[in-house]
Amino acid sequence: MKRLTLTLGLVALAAVLAACSGTSAAPATPAGPADPDAPVVTAKDLAFSPTEVTVPAGAPFQLVLDNQEGAPHNIAISDSTGASIFKGEIVTNQKVTYQVPALSAGAYPFICEVHPDMKGTITAE
């Protein structure tokens, strides 16, 4: 019994240590000089504002997420089929600038991965 307890205890300890060493899966992308004209999406009260963002098509662009609350948020962009195009770093009470790859002309839904009810649309034109 003591050996079983010890083994299970060590498994628990290993699991906690493994969890603590985990890193963010979402890419952190605040690289390069900040574009003062970059669109800003604010996250507050579990909602994005604005929910409609327009960006130039065919060129990489910067997108600012201004998370104004304690809940963690990010911006994850997908195409019309639901395939993931971009996943921003999840931040709390922080403003972060994402470097988003070029989008061809069209509409792209975006959500917060932690709160999928937070939705918006990026229009590339």
Binding site: T5, V11, L13, G22, E69, A71
Partner: protein, 142 residues
């Protein structure tokens, strides 16, 4: 209403403290995430943590069910996260805590209740006996 004091060994007390601490830790993490689902999840962990230590006779009698329930609750939280995500550092920390919680609950179950299959069989047979006795009494009264 209140259970008589039981003679827990130091290891049992340490395991119980660990269970309550881990349940409250993951509950706290979920409470910081915002939204109804995470808040309810946090409330569930807090209620389960209280149920693990409250000295009420009913809670003590069915502590085995509380252990199994909390294990299932943590496991379903992990499965829900594995399906939906998101996969980031705080989530990994919470899942590590929940895995450790399940392991500690399993240890506690084995130490306090023994083989879970035997416990469930025993409880089912006592429930069956109770139902049979009640229906027999009802039949006699009629």
């Amino acid at each position: 209403m209140f259970a008589r004091p039981t003679s827990l060994r130091a290891t049992d007390v340490a395991i119980r403290i660990g269970i309550v601490g881990l349940a409250l830790a993951t509950g706290y993490i979920h409470s910081t995430l915002g939204g109804l689902l995470f808040t309810l999840n946090a409330v569930g962990y807090v209620v389960a943590a209280i149920a693990m230590v409250i000295p009420l006779a009913l809670a003590v009698r069915f502590r085995w069910a509380i252990r199994l329930g909390l294990m299932g609750y943590a496991a379903s939280t992990i499965i829900g996260w594995a399906i939906q995500g998101p996969y980031y550092s705080t989530a990994y920390l919470a899942k590590g805590i929940e895995v450790a919680l399940i392991v500690l609950l399993a240890i506690d179950f084995v130490r306090m209740d023994g083989n879970p299959v035997t416990v469930i069989r025993r409880e089912l047979s006592s429930l069956f006996a109770l139902v049979t006795r009640r229906s027999g009494q009802a039949g006699a009264a009629a």
